[in-house]
């Protein structure tokens, strides 16, 4: 089950995402990257994680690593309501820009080398990650969804919600990673 796509028919091809077995992989990659971006889709707001919503976890990750956020579709209003500064663009638009080596980035300082994705409908995120795998070979992508995304460079496997929450909390630094 570990590296099977969540939606059964979405068989990718020869190059598949590596599995994030420990949250420290994400932390290490973000620390190593020169310019990281986070893309947050509308489903993120629909994931209820008890006292907080997955959007709040993303805000904490972004804060910890100083990562700019691009919110897509209705996710925009979630950040606006929280008064959290973000940029907004549609999922297709940000995908399209990320494959252009000449893109200036959100801040005019150029293209990114690492992008974290979360919360776009599985099959749509799948196609965008596929597009980037093929046409942006220098870009690393990480899926923070709790489903295996074969077209990302790195992805969690299909995991349960509590396991996922633990991973996110570890990335945020709220809990120590077990050795």
């Amino acid at each position: 089950m570990s590296n099977e796509p969540w939606q059964i028919g979405e068989i990718a091809g020869p190059k598949k995402a590596l599995i994030i077995t420990k949250p420290s992989v994400v932390v290490g990659m973000v620390k190593k990257a020169k310019r990281t971006l986070m893309v947050v889709g509308h489903q993120t707001a629909e994931i209820d994680l008890g006292e907080e919503n997955a959007i709040d976890y993303m805000i904490k990750i972004a804060d910890r690593f100083k990562i700019p956020i691009v919110a897509t579709a209705n996710a925009v209003s979630e950040f606006v309501e929280r008064n959290y500064p973000i940029s907004w663009m549609s999922a297709m638009d940000i995908g399209n820009r990320l494959q252009d080596p000449e893109w200036e980035g959100l801040d005019g300082k150029g293209q990114y080398d690492l992008v974290l994705f979360i919360g776009i409908p599985y099959y749509m995120e799948w196609t965008i990650l596929s597009g980037l795998k093929h046409t942006a070979p220098n870009l690393k992508t990480i899926s923070l969804d709790r489903y295996y995304h074969p077209h990302a460079s790195w992805s969690f496997s299909n995991i349960k919600i509590d396991e996922w929450v633990t991973y996110l909390k570890t990335i945020i630094g709220q809990i120590e990673e077990k050795a």
Binding site: A12, G13, A73, N74, M92, N96, S130, K133, H134
Partner: protein, 790 residues
Amino acid sequence: MTSRKNVKFKFDKLKSETAEIDGLEVSIGKLIREKWDEPYGPTPSPSLATLREWDLKLLKRYKPFYLPYCDVCCLCTMGKCDLTAGKRGACGLDICAQQSRIVLIACCMGAATHIGHARHLVEHLIEKYGRDSPIDVGRSVGVDIEAPVTRLVYGEKPETLGDLEEVLDYVEKQVTQLLASTHTGQEGDNLDFESKVFHAGMIDQVGMEIADLAQISVYGFPKADPEAPLVELGIGVIDTTKPTILVIGHNVPPSVEIINYMEESGLSDSIEVAGICCTSIDATRYNPKAKIVGPISWQLRFIRSGMADVIVVDEQCIRTDVAIEAQKTMTPVIATAEKNCLGLPNRTNDPVDEIVKDLVEGKAHGALIFDPDKVGEVAVRTATLLAPKRKKFKVIPEISEILEGASKCAQCRFAPCMRACPNNLPIREAMEQAAKGDLEGLSNLYEVCIGCVRCESACTNDLPIHNYIVGASIKKMMEEKYKIRSGRGPIQDVEIRKVGGPIVLGEIPGVIALVGCANYPKGGNEVAEIAEEFAKRRFIVTTSGCSAMSIGMYRDEDGRNLYEVYPGEFDAGGIVNVGSCVANPHIAGAAIKIASIFARRKLRGNYEEIADYIHNRVGAVGIAWGAITQKAASIASGFWRLGIPVIVGPHGSKYRRMLLGRKDRKEDWYVYDARTGEKVFVGPCPEHLFYTAETKEEAMVMAAKLCMRPNDTARGRMIKLAHYIDLHKRFYKVMPDDIHLFVRTETDLPITMKEEIKKILAEKGWKENIIPDPTLLPRMVHTKEEKSDE
């Protein structure tokens, strides 16, 4: 007068040494008898590369963003080839060209399907009604341009059924040539593939137009009638105490002959004819007493409900396992099209009595009958005799069976049911709830389930999950009683004269065309909500096919049906159902007629100029929220070549590439000012040509934005900006960040937001600009002589 390829002689008096003949007329080959004196434009009957320059202009602005469905190519025996990230296949092809090639193959399939449908229909109608049967789609209400797409593309004006054959010859040839270019070792460049995709879409529009012209003319469908009748829609409107015939598909002659036979036999009131997909819309266009079950996704739930005593299928969008499914409810299936024989024995030449006997006695579970008249008789007689025996035998389970079945759910850790479901519906949770005696979870899935039954195929315990969903919702299902306006056909020339100005100037903020299939991410109500939103805002909403049905299956806050609230006129605030899928060209045709009737641009074989006009002036946007098929792909590509943007729902991202503009690249958004020849920045209008939206809210914000055109007057732009900003603020709770790109002068600013926007403009360093007479074609710049003539 002769057309280009055929010859006609007419002699009032022929005298020779041996004879003297009066009034001899000789025709060689087929012929379009023209009474159209408009001179030919530059591109009548264009071939594959004729409009390539135009396509490349669009593709320079709207570059493909590729979204490969998989990493390999498996189209020839040198494969499978791994094309990941720049690798090339054994033939030299890369992933971009391969994706475009697949899009082209899909569009060829779509175009071939409509054209094949048109050919079948036209041949049948010629056989029955004669080659000289006139084309008339609303002459009495002033529809003079009866075939805008055909006139524009092919360059002729068809007047009779026979004339249509010649147009079909042309489009069939184009599809063959296009398909040939997808062969291993042919076209290798992605943009050239894309140009051919546009060609396929354009050809497809001609094919669809031919099909609808033929059926409207001969069958007497509503002819450009804004008050086409309201007909019944929904499972609950079907009187299941009567023998019931279910028709599925798109090609209407078998349904027509069923209705005719019922009338001839005095059985009109004792049998129900209900349909799924476009055939049902067309059956109601023929006879408003026919009923519509619902869109494509309602197929299995209705078949399994056992309400149909006979199922008649024609072609397209029919479940390929319909014969297997129908056997479960002991319902015979009659297949009627060579394209869709379903493994059934050909009984076309057998006596009707024998076929009926075999079907009624269960000796045969189906029959293939190519003769629509015979289908009519067999279906009606079989339904009548079989209904008392079948007693509506169904496979939808009773509540007790569902509860028992749910208790067998193993609650699999990795829920294969959910993982097989296209919409990732929470089936496992619903089953867990049902096992505890609560069916609400299953019932909640009813509206969002697209009826694909992948969950059932995947279930480790072979549970009939879809049946449980339907069974848990049976009350809801039987209460589905709605209305839909039957397809009206073309838009009247007089309507175009009335709205042409306001559309081109921007005062009617846009035309939103809700078309396509029912692969919705969250149910069909979303389409209706989009329609309602834009109709309220006084856009013109047009629709067709399954989307038109979804709009009908919704009630507004006051419990009203949208077709009863909003008029069927092509005017601000109308919801205009043009008809079935093949009626879609009436929407493109309306845009073409705006250029031709309102702006008096020449139509005949003048594609590029008309497309340039539409792209720069007509704020139309297509939304195919649940697009599924290859036909939907080719329909979209027909809009692209005209420069009309199309938005698809999230499943549409699987169409393998989008055509996206880049508003951050100023250099992409210049047009020529036809008055001066100068290049003028006009902002990203329209920003995209093919675009996937993640949610209905995003689709609405984007649709409002994509209605802006360089030609908008200040007043028009003000209105369009106000809608865009309002929707953006409603759904995203913030002002758009790109307003400065759409403001040309301060008079563009919506009055109530003027000060707020002015601040934003100042921050963005905005500068005032002129409103040009926009064109992408240097040849459209007026010459000095022309100017002195004016």
